[in-house]
C-alpha cells in the first residue's frame, strides 16, 4: 500500500515538474496571498501588544499617574517627599514637544532610570555599561529610535538642531521597547535642554490596592492621582482601524487564492488523463484521494511557511508608517521591532489549508467520484463551464440578496466589511456570466460574413474558462483600487477644507506659563493683534470613553465659523447664536452622534464638580481624526462648573500678513513668558496635519498596489496556462498559414474585451464600494461623515494602467509562444 502511494504520488506530482511556470504561479499565488494577509496580521498583533503595554517606559507599566491639577508641573520636592514616604514605584517623567530646524515635531520623553522600580533591569541585551553611563552624565545622550534617526538623517553622535537653535544631546541610535517614535533621554538632560526644573507628571508603577488610599491622602491638593486606562482606551479606539487593515489583507488573500484557483484548474485539466490512466491501472479512488490530500498538505505547508517569511518582510516595511500614524492619531506608542508569535504561523497554515482544500481537493474529489471520463473531453469541458457559470451566477444572486438584507443592519466595522465582501464576491461571481453575455451579444451583432470577427468571438468562448478566475481577481483588485481611491480623495478634500476653517488663526501658542493678561492687553497688543481665542479644557470620561470638554470663546473668529455637520435651528449660523446666548446648550463632535447615538436636541448629562449638569446638544461639528468625544461649551461655563481645567493655549489672528507684524507678535509672546518653540504658525500646523493625513493612508496605498500586482500576476498566469493548453491548437493554426501577428490578435482581442467589461463593471462597483466605505463604514467605525467626491479620472488612469499590464502580459505570452512554437510544430508533424 505504502509503495503504491509513493508511486501514485510520483505520478501526481510529475505535473508540477513538467509545467514549471504553473508551479511557480501556484507558489506565487499562495505566497502572495498568505504574505499579504500575515503581514497585516503581524502588524495588527504588534500594535495590540503595544497597547497592552501602553505607557510603559523602559519596561515599567504605569498603573496610575500623578498630575498637577493646575497645569503647573510637578515640583521635584513633591516627588522626593513621596519617595521618602516609601512609594518607590513612583518615578518622574518629562515629556515635551520640540521642533526640528525644518519644523518637524519631535517628542521627547525623559526619566530618571535609577528611580525606575525595576532596579535597573531595564534596556536591551545590547545596552552596554558605557551606554548607560553616558546616558546619565553630561553631555548625556539622546536615544533616537532607528526609524526616526533615518527620517532625520541622524548618525550616532550627531546633535539634532532644533528650530530655536538649541541642540539635543549627542544621538545614540537605539530602539527600546515601547519607545515608539519618542527620543529618550535622562531627566537631567531634559532639564538642561528645556530649561525647566519640574516634571510633566509622575508615573506610579505597580501598586497594591491598600497603598492607593494611603498615596491619595499624602498627595497635596494641587496634585491628583489618575488611573491609567489607556491600554483599554487604545484597544477600543483603534479597533476599527485594525478591522479595516484586516479586511484589506483578506481581500489580498482572496486575490492570491484566485491565482491558486487558476493554477489548480490548469493542473486539473492536465491531469485528467493521468488520473484516468491511474484508475485504469487499478489505483483505487481512495488511494488517489490520499495522494491528492498529501499534495494539498504539502502545498499548504510550503505556501504558509514561505508566505509568513514574505509577511514578516511586508510587516517590517509597513509597520513604521503605521506606528507613526497611530502615534499622531491616538498617541499610541507602537514598537517598530517585530515580535514574532507562533500562532500567526498556525493561523496562516490553517487558512492556506482551507483555501487549498476548497481549490484543489474538493474539485478533484468531485472528479474522482465520476467513475469514468467522458469520451468527448471538449464538449464535457464546455458543458462543465456553462454549468459552473450558472452555479456562480446563482451564488452571486444569493450573495447580493444577502447583502440587501444585511445593509440596514450594519452597526459596526465587522458587519460593514461583511457587506462589502458579499457585494464584491457577488459581483465577481456574476462576472463570468456577464462575459458570456457580452460574447453572445457580440456574436449576435456580427454578420455571418465577418469571418475573422466571428473567429475572434469563437476564440473568446475557448478562452473564457481559463480567464474566468483571472478576470474575477482583476475585477476585485480594480474595484478595491477605485473604491479606496475615492474614499481617500473624498477624505482629503473634506479634511483640507475643514483645516482651512478650523485653523484660521495665524499663530497657535501653547505654553505652561504664560501671562495672558499681558499678552492680550488691548493697549499693548492692538498694533499687531486683530483677534484672539483663549481656550481651556479638561479630559473627562463620558459613556465609558475619554471625552474632551473644551471651554471656548463663542464669539472668537473660529467659533463663529465652526463647521457644523448637523444643526438644530434653521441654519448653522442661528444654531451658533443659540449656543452663544442660551445657557446649558452645547455643541458636540460628530463622534458623539454616530458612536454614542446622541441625536440633535437630546439632553445629555456631564459630570461637573458641582454635580451632574444637563445640556441640550444643539449641533454636531466635524472633528476629523479625533478618536475621542468632544464637547464645546462657553468659556465661562467651564470655569464655573469645573475646578480642574487646563489652559489649552491661545489662537492669535494678526493685523497684517507681514514680517514686521509677525516679529511684533513673537516679541510680545516672549515678553509674556513664552519661549521659541511654544508657538506654531498656521502654515506649519496645516503642513503637519496634512503630513499626518498622508501618512495614515500610506498603508492603504501600499496594500492597494500590492493587490493590483497580485491581480496582474493572476492575469499572466492565466494567459500562460492558455498558451500551454492550446499550444497544439496554435501549432495547427500556424500549419494552416495563420501568421504570428494574426494569431496574437485572435488571442488578444477576447482578453481585451473581457478586461474592458471587467473595467466597466469596476467603475460603478468602485463607486458603490466607496459610498459604503464613506457613508456606512467610516461612520460606524470612526464616527465622522464627509461628502463623497467621485471623479472619472482615476478610473481612466486605472484603465490605462490595466492596458499596460495586459500589453506586457501579452508580450510575455507572445515571447513564450514564439519560443515553444517550433517544438509544437515538430510534434504536430510527428502526430501527422
Amino acid at each position: 500500500m505504502q509503495a503504491n502511494l509513493v508511486w501514485v504520488l510520483k505520478a501526481v506530482f510529475s505535473h508540477y515538474w513538467r509545467h514549471g511556470w504553473q508551479t511557480l504561479f501556484l507558489l506565487v499565488g499562495l505566497i502572495a496571498g498568505v504574505g499579504l494577509w500575515s503581514g497585516v496580521q503581524i502588524i495588527n498583533q504588534q500594535a495590540r501588544l503595544s497597547y497592552e503595554q501602553a505607557d510603559s517606559l523602559l519596561g515599567v507599566q504605569a498603573s496610575y499617574w500623578i498630575r498637577s491639577r493646575t497645569d503647573k508641573a510637578i515640583e521635584v520636592a513633591d516627588y522626593i517627599s513621596l519617595r521618602r514616604a516609601g512609594f518607590r514605584q513612583i518615578f518622574p517623567v518629562v515629556e515635551a514637544q520640540v521642533s526640528t530646524e525644518q519644523g518637524q515635531p519631535i517628542s521627547i520623553i525623559a526619566t530618571d532610570l535609577f528611580a525606575l522600580p525595576n532596579n535597573l533591569q531595564v534596556g536591551d541585551e545590547d545596552d552596554t555599561a558605557a551606554d548607560w553611563l553616558s546616558f546619565v552624565q553630561p553631555p548625556y545622550r539622546a536615544w533616537v529610535p532607528g526609524e526616526l534617526a533615518n527620517e532625520l538623517k541622524l548618525e550616532t553622535g550627531d546633535q539634532l538642531l532644533l528650530r530655536d537653535g538649541r541642540r539635543l544631546p549627542p544621538a545614540l541610535i537605539k530602539n527600546h521597547s515601547q519607545q515608539g517614535r519618542q527620543i529618550l533621554m535622562d531627566i537631567a538632560a531634559s532639564f538642561e535642554l528645556l530649561n525647566r526644573e519640574t516634571f510633566s507628571y509622575l508615573v506610579v508603577g505597580n501598586i497594591e490596592a491598600g497603598q492607593i488610599s494611603q498615596l491619595e491622602t499624602l498627595l497635596p491638593d494641587r496634585m491628583e492621582l489618575v488611573e491609567n486606562q489607556q491600554h483599554l482606551d487604545l484597544r477600543e479606539l483603534t479597533e476599527s482601524l485594525h478591522t479595516h487593515l484586516s479586511a484589506m489583507s483578506l481581500l489580498s488573500f482572496a486575490v492570491g487564492l484566485f491565482i491558486v484557483f487558476n493554477a489548480v484548474r490548469f493542473s486539473l485539466w492536465y491531469r485528467r488523463a493521468t488520473f484516468l490512466s491511474l484508475r485504469l491501472m487499478g489505483v483505487s479512488a481512495s488511494l488517489l484521494l490520499s495522494a491528492v490530500l498529501i499534495e494539498t498538505l504539502l502545498w499548504s505547508l510550503i505556501g504558509a511557511g514561505a508566505g509568513i517569511v514574505v509577511g514578516l518582510q511586508i510587516g517590517k516595511v509597513l509597520l513604521p508608517g503605521l506606528g507613526a500614524s497611530l502615534h499622531s492619531l491616538y498617541d499610541a506608542t507602537v514598537d517598530t521591532q517585530l515580535i514574532w508569535q507562533f500562532d500567526t504561523l498556525f493561523k496562516a497554515w490553517g487558512i492556506t489549508l482551507l483555501g487549498l482544500f476548497w481549490a484543489l481537493t474538493w474539485p478533484l474529489y468531485q472528479q474522482l467520484r465520476r467513475n469514468s471520463l467522458p469520451a468527448n473531453l471538449i464538449s464535457r469541458v464546455s458543458l462543465d463551464e456553462r454549468r459552473s457559470r450558472h452555479y456562480l451566477a446563482l451564488s452571486s444572486s444569493a450573495l447580493i440578496i444577502l447583502s440587501v438584507i444585511l445593509y440596514p443592519r450594519i452597526d459596526n466595522a465587522i458587519s460593514g466589511f461583511l457587506l462589502l465582501g458579499l457585494i464584491l464576491f457577488g459581483a465577481a461571481w456574476l462576472l463570468p456570466t456577464l462575459l458570456a453575455f457580452t460574447l453572445r451579444l457580440l456574436s449576435g451583432l456580427t454578420s455571418k460574413s465577418q469571418l475573422v470577427t466571428r473567429w475572434l468571438i469563437g476564440d473568446g468562448w475557448t478562452q473564457l474558462p481559463a480567464l474566468r478566475t483571472a478576470m474575477m481577481a482583476l475585477l476585485l483588485a480594480m474595484t478595491a483600487n477605485l473604491g479606496v481611491g475615492t474614499l481617500v480623495d473624498s477624505f482629503r478634500s473634506a479634511f483640507v477644507g475643514w483645516l482651512e476653517v478650523r485653523q484660521s488663526a495665524d499663530i497657535y501658542l501653547r505654553a505652561s506659563q504664560i501671562d495672558y493678561e499681558r499678552l492680550l492687553d488691548p493697549q499693548k497688543s492692538s498694533v499687531w493683534l486683530a483677534d484672539s481665542h483663549r481656550r481651556i479644557g479638561l479630559t473627562s470620561r463620558w459613556q465609558g470613553r475619554p471625552a474632551l470638554i473644551r471651554g471656548v470663546d463663542t464669539l472668537a473668529p473660529d467659533s463663529l465659523q465652526l463647521p457644523l455637520a448637523q444643526w438644530s435651528e434653521e441654519t448653522a449660523e442661528s444654531t451658533l447664536k443659540v449656543w452663544q446666548t442660551e445657557k446649558n446648550t452645547l455643541l458636540a463632535n460628530e463622534q458623539v452622534h454616530y458612536l454614542a447615538g446622541i441625536r440633535l436636541n437630546q439632553t445629555i448629562q456631564l459630570k461637573t464638580d458641582q454635580g451632574p449638569v444637563d445640556y441640550r446638544v444643539i449641533g454636531f461639528f466635524y472633528d476629523y481624526g479625533n478618536p475621542n468625544y468632544q464637547f464645546y461649551l462657553p468659556y465661562d461655563e467651564v470655569v464655573s462648573y469645573w475646578k480642574q481645567y487646563h489652559p489649552r493655549g491661545v489662537a492669535l489672528w494678526l493685523n497684517n500678513n507681514d514680517t514686521i507684524t509677525l516679529q511684533l507678535a513673537q516679541q510680545a509672546m516672549r515678553d509674556a513668558g513664552a519661549e521659541t518653540g511654544d508657538w506654531i504658525l498656521q502654515n506649519q500646523v496645516r503642513k503637519l496635519s496634512l503630513n499626518i493625513f498622508e501618512r495614515t493612508f500610506t498603508i492603504t496605498a501600499a496594500m492597494n498596489a500590492l493587490t493590483m500586482i497580485v491581480a496582474a500576476i493572476a492575469l499572466l498566469a492565466s494567459l500562460l496556462a492558455i498558451l500551454q493548453e492550446r499550444l497544439p491548437q496554435f501549432a495547427q493554426w500556424r500549419a494552416l498559414g495563420v501568421r504570428s501577428q494574426e494569431q496574437m490578435l485572435i488571442i488578444a482581442c477576447p482578453i481585451l474585451i473581457f478586461v474592458f467589461v471587467a473595467w466597466l463593471l469596476a467603475i460603478p462597483l468602485g463607486a458603490l464600494l466607496s459610498w459604503i466605505l464613506i457613508h456606512k463604514l467610516n461612520i460606524v467605525s470612526f464616527g465622522w461623515s464627509m461628502p463623497m467626491r467621485w471623479d472619472i479620472l482615476p478610473a481612466i488612469q486605472l484603465g490605462g494602467v490595466i492596458l499596460l499590464v495586459v500589453a506586457a502580459t501579452l508580450m510575455l505570452a507572445n515571447w513564450q509562444l514564439r519560443r515553444r512554437m517550433p517544438n509544437a510544430l515538430a510534434q504536430l508533424g510527428e502526430l501527422a
Binding site: V76, Q121, A129
Partner: protein, 356 residues
Amino acid sequence: MRVLFIFFYLLSPAAISADNFEILRNDVEGFAKVAPGKHFDFPADHGPHSDYRIEWWYLTANLKDQQGRHWGIQWTLFRNALSAEPAKQGWSNNQLWMAHAAITTPRGHQFEERFARGGIGQAGVNLEPQFEAWIDDWIWQSETKSLFPAQLKFRIADREIDMQLSSEASWVLHGDAGYSQKSEQGQASYYYSQPEIQIAGTINGQPLSGRAWLDREWSSQPLAENQLGWDWFSLHLNDGNKLMLYRLRHKQGKHWLSGSWVDADGNTRHLHSEAIQLSEKDFRQIKTSDNDEIILPLGWQINLPELNRQLIVKPLYDQQWMATSFPYWEGVVLVDDENGVRVGEGYMELTGYQSP
C-alpha cells in the same frame, strides 16, 4: 573590605565587557588618592567623601528573639562618584547611591536593592543638623552629628524593621591607623569600624536584640587586575573579643590576607598576612536563582597562631544569597572553637564566585 567591585557592575544590567571595564578604570584619574598617615576626624569622617570614588556605610547585626533564635540584618548604603568633578547640587550631580538590605530570619532570607542619584534629596548622607543616611524611606537617623544613638528604619517586602542603635566604644582603625592596603601594587582604602554596637528593636512588631557591626570605608582605586573576589568575616566572640578578617583571592600566587583583633577593652591588634591561616572546610551547593546553582565554601577554619585561637565558622543556614546586580553571599554565621563549642557569631561575605 566589602563589595568594592560592586559599582563596576552597577551600570551594566547586561554582561559587562572588557571595554566597559577599561572606561571605568580610566575614570579613576582625577579622584583623591588614598595615602598612609591620614588623621581621622570624627564626626566629620562619618559623612561622605565625595572626592573619592567609592564609599560605604555598612551595618550588619546578629539578633536574637525571645525564644533565643538567631536573626540577622544587613543595611548598606554605597556611594559612587561617576566622575571626578566636584559634586554639584541638583540633577547634574555626579553621585550615585545604591543600598542593599537583607534580613535573615529563622524561616529564611530576604533582600532588596535600591538605587538613587545624588543631589536631589532622594538619597545621601548628611551630618547637619544630625547624622542621617537614607535612600527613599530606608533611613539611619542619629540624634547627634555622630552615628549613635540612632534609629534604623527600613522595609523589605512586607517586613518593617525598626531598630535602636547605641555605642559608647571607641572606633577601630584597620590596617595602618585606618590605611588599609589591599594589594602589593598599592591598592588601598580608608577603613574604620565600630564593632561594639548594641541593637534592639522590632521586626514587624516582634522584639529582637543583639550586637551590630558598622564598617566605614572609602577609596578611589579598584582592585588589582589579578584579584578575583574576596572572603570577609566580622565575628563577635562571646568572651568580648571581636575579629575582622578578609582574604583577597588572586588568580595566581598567594592570596592577600589581613585582619584586626579587637579585645574586650577595645584594644586593636592588626593581623598581617602571616598571622592568619584561613582555609575552606565545607563546600555547599546553593540556589542563586530558580534555575541556577553555585557551589560555595560556606564552612571555614580560622587559625590565629599568634593569639593561639582556632575558630570554625559555619552559616546559620546556607541559603543567604544576595541576587543583586552584583551577586554575592552575605549572611549570619556561627562560630565554634576547635572542640565544637559555640564561642560566637557574626557575618560572612563571599564575593566573586559568580559573575553578574
